[in-house]
Symmetry: C2
Subunit: 256 residues, 2 copies
């Protein structure tokens, strides 16, 4: 009996109808059987959020030999949990998420639903990669991003990743990228974040907006630097958030 084809699980945070997820499906086509369980609408900025108090629903959208697509009313992490546990039928060999419409570099890894889903795949001990293109447009050109996503996915599918570590891949806009750099997460924060406005009844409301402030713009080891120079970036991301470097220094807190 022929060995099973590799099983590739896909989700995103822009919803199953987005251009980015279609590009990701095309980019891994032929590498294995593909199961997509993705949100039924936009879920940007959902991070690792889970739906603990409301019921989840799944709808089959499309089925052919090597491609099944389902929509789900939950978060990106819900899609991973439900998709792997209840829909995929067996443990996937690879989880790929995106291709996100917009950057998930630097601290955006902490807010991103695309990366929340990749981290969840990693918690399942499955090699996992989140892909993002630095272009918010609905008509973004994913052609370079697709080539990069296919190359990295194919490599990881055959060589794996260390358990507990996934990849955050960001790709500059345009077709003249300089290459790929392995980087660390840039330190920074979002500032000037709120726009004050009024609702229909004249009450004050706040809209989240703002701009990214890079705290180390000259550091060539960071993802923001490499992206600004025109490189695609790969940041290895750990599920273990412990600051191991200060565990010993904090021991005195056992006495306070």
């Amino acid at each position: 009996m022929a060995q099973n084809k590799p099983l590739i699980f896909i989700t995103n945070d822009d919803g199953y109808t987005s251009g980015g997820i279609k590009a990701l499906i095309e980019s891994v086509k032929g590498l294995g059987k593909i199961v997509v369980v993705a949100p039924d609408g936009p879920r940007s900025g959902m991070s690792g959020a889970i739906s603990s108090t409301s019921p989840l629903r799944v709808t089959r959208i499309h089925q052919e030999d090597d491609l099944e697509i389902y929509s789900c009313n939950g978060t990106p992490v819900d899609c991973v949990k439900l998709g792997i546990s209840e829909i995929a039928g067996r443990k996937p060999d690879l989880v790929v998420t995106g291709i996100n419409h917009g950057s998930n570099a630097s601290i955006c890894v902490l807010y991103s639903g695309t990366m929340g889903a990749a981290i969840e795949g990693c918690i399942f001990k499955i090699p996992s990669i989140g892909f993002s293109l630095l272009d918010h447009s609905h008509e973004a050109d994913f052609s370079t991003a697709k080539t990069i996503a296919r190359n990295i996915s194919n490599h990881v599918l055959h060589n794996g990743l260390p358990i507990g570590t996934c990849l955050n891949v960001n790709i500059p806009k345009g077709n003249d990228i300089k290459g790929v750099k392995v980087c660390r997460q840039t330190a920074g924060q979002w500032v000037d974040e709120f726009f004050r406005s009024k609702d229909g009844s004249g009450k004050e409301v706040f809209w989240l907006t703002g701009r990214f402030q890079n705290d180390e713009p000259a550091d060539q080891a960071t993802d923001e630097w490499a992206l600004a120079q025109g490189y695609a970036t790969i940041v290895p991301v750990k599920v273990d958030m412990t600051d191991h470097s200060i565990l010993q220094d904090l021991k005195f807190m056992e006495e306070i």
Copy 2:
């Protein structure tokens, strides 16, 4: 002119009416001026989620000399962003979150709104601590947790924390805890997560549930081990999720 009192910012993910946030307010009373901006209802499992497409609203609930309480329709991270940028009036000296009703040990740090909010305080470069009690009950006894929260908050208020690192503090149920341990995050995952059921029209729905599987139950360096032994735990948590240990090993990916 007398120096300003320290400003302590508080939020949580169980909502501003929860017993846990009342306990946290009491525990830090007298250490400074307190500003609370907390969700208007439960937001458990919201992780680092942000509201990027819907308007945020804030309502003042209570005001006295050293205590202001506001409710907000957003996520815990929204409460931190909006509270610090638009409500607090100046940069807080300390961010404390919780006291959460239920554990945020091990990988729950990645799903927790309480810890999402503490991590956000840390991104603002403010010393930040998330507190959780291992008791989901509405009538949970917070007396021991309050003492621990006050001691740790008072220490961090006066001595700070390294920029980019916050604390995840978990406290066992009951009043006979053995002490406090500084630990690392336990490796594990949630399994058997879904309960299949029917909605009112007979359609299938899935409810997120499940049980935690500890991948290293015998390791005395982990938070789950210490909690099982009756210790409160402090895990230092980093904003930088980069797996620095494999950056060099991944350099070959720049060529694929």
